[in-house]
């Protein structure tokens, strides 16, 4: 328990250090562009594949569960859209990103710690926490929502592919389903979740990397801890935000 409190204190301390004004504006902007590329664009492939397949699975499962003639033909499209928009795209995609981006951040910063590159920054008078972690947080908060929106489109597209392919519903019925009773607030809810998750994933992974102690082995360990902890917190905050916004 004492250890948990200590970690939380250390994390808060670090976060305060992270949110200082960057030393040089142009350097900071260049770093953000770089991180958007590293953390976002590099994840596009995996996000696309997973989204299309999950969308397809959701559509087939929904169709499988409703064989009754009483259920309207629009249900497959409607249910697919709701699952993807509310839960699948924001939460599952962010969990995938917690694995991919979290381990990357923790091992990058952890390696810099154990090879004294962080000390080198500090000795020059650079606020290393700010310099290393803030661009990643900002980049993720910008690019993750975009990835999630792309995932929403691709998921719905995947559902359509499956529906048409397996002849569960026609394109017209699917389309009618996905456009039925659309509530823009649900998109807002998903985006709020995504932004919170982006912050959690990058700041927690940054924390584990920054306080790595020792050598290469510890870098690996820090990276595993970063993924586990950010995944757990994504799930916990998913519940909290959902309770607050939809409950």
């Amino acid at each position: 328990m004492k250890k948990i409190l200590f970690s939380i204190g250390q994390y808060v301390d670090l976060t305060i250090k992270v949110f200082r004004k960057p030393e040089k504006g142009p350097v900071f902007r260049k770093q953000i562009a770089n991180e958007i590329n590293n953390l976002g664009i590099d994840s596009l492939g995996i996000v696309a594949i997973i989204s299309v397949f999950m969308g397809a699975v959701v559509a087939i499962q929904t169709a499988h569960n409703i064989t009754s003639a009483w259920v309207p033909v629009t249900t497959v499209g409607f249910t697919t859209r709701e699952s993807i928009l509310l839960e699948f795209s924001p939460t599952i995609i962010c969990l995938i990103l917690a694995g991919k981006v979290g381990s990357r951040i923790a091992s990058e910063i952890g390696t810099m710690r154990v090879t004294e590159q962080i000390d080198a920054l500090e000795i020059m008078g650079v606020n290393s926490a700010n310099y290393l972690i803030l661009p990643k947080i900002v980049a993720a908060v910008i690019i993750f929502p975009l990835l999630v929106i792309i995932s929403m489109f691709l998921g719905i597209f995947g559902g359509w592919l499956a529906a048409v392919w397996m002849h569960v519903v026609t394109t017209t019925n699917y389309y009618a389903g996905i456009t039925m009773d659309f509530i823009p607030y649900e998109i807002f809810y998903s985006m709020v979740k995504t932004v919170v998750f982006s912050f959690l994933i990058t700041s927690i992974s940054g924390y584990y990397g920054y306080y790595t102690n020792g050598g290469a082995l510890e870098v690996g360990r820090a990276s595993t801890k970063a993924v586990v902890m950010s995944s757990i917190l994504v799930i916990v905050f998913n519940l909290i935000i959902t309770q607050l916004m939809l409950g």
Binding site: E23, K24, M112, T115, Q117, D119, A120, E122, I123, M124
Partner: protein, 250 residues
């Protein structure tokens, strides 16, 4: 000049640095020597402020570093150049970007001026045509040179080198040692070097402090170190068969 007054540092229950007072002079290569694990790196990190001391004071030319706030320390940091044991070059940057980094962060120089300074520093450490290479593409000796070039890019008044020749062959070691010594004299820098290499001690030991188990045991220079009767120091100096034989011959 840098002075430490009665500084102590412990990690938990482990007392690593115990009441150390040393004066490091300007324009000289000041060595901190001692076996591995004796506390040299911790002492150096305390002096530059990467670690907080538990007790004592550190003075940079009569400015009390240990009493300073964050911003005052930061301004002193820009007078400090440091070369880390493994080089600590930024992996994601080219050699040129590494050496240019402090200039980019802390000066308003144009790209041209910065390039010129980078080339000057790289030239000073006898490196050519490496500007666009990444640290992973360099040999051990080259990495150390780039680390020196980066450390001197801001014209430091104080230069710190942690084991500058660890991992190098004896010949390259001497080259690096001489380079640091030349730069020190040329620009009148206060230089502090951690080492356990007896060759360095003899070659460039203008001023030597011997640390063992976190305590200061002996202070002197390279002309006195071979004739001391301090037992711990003798065990360190005459640790190898070669040095013992040389002693017998004398």
């Amino acid at each position: 000049m840098i002075e430490t007054r009665h500084i102590s540092k412990s990690f938990g229950d482990h007392l690593i640095i115990h009441d150390i007072s040393i004066i490091f002079e300007r324009g000289k290569t000041n060595l901190i020597i001692g076996p591995s694990g004796s506390g040299k790196t911790v002492l150096m990190k305390c002096i530059v402020g990467l670690l907080e001391v538990d007790e004592g004071q550190i003075l940079y030319d009569d400015r009390t570093f240990t009493d300073m706030d964050f911003y005052e320390k930061k301004s002193i940091r820009q007078e400090i150049g440091m070369m880390f044991q493994g080089g600590a070059l930024f992996d994601s940057m080219t050699v040129e970007e590494n050496v240019m980094f402090p200039l980019t962060m802390f000066t308003t120089q144009s790209m041209e001026e910065k390039r010129e300074r980078v080339n000057f520093c790289l030239n000073r450490v006898n490196l050519e045509n490496v500007n666009k290479l990444y640290p992973a593409e360099l040999s051990g000796g080259m990495k150390k040179r780039v680390a020196i070039a980066r450390a001197i890019s801001m014209n430091p008044h104080y230069l710190f080198c942690d084991e500058p020749n660890s991992g190098l062959d004896p010949k390259t070691s001497i080259v690096i040692d001489n380079l640091i010594s030349e730069i020190t004299k040329e620009y009148g820098i206060t230089t502090i070097i951690n080492t356990h290499d007896m060759n360095s001690v003899i070659e460039i030991g203008d001023h030597i402090a011997f640390i063992y188990k976190g305590k200061l045991w002996w202070v002197g220079n390279n002309s006195k170190i071979l004739d001391t009767d301090n037992e711990e120091l003798n065990n360190f100096v005459y640790a190898t068969e070669l040095t013992r034989r040389l002693k017998k011959q004398k």
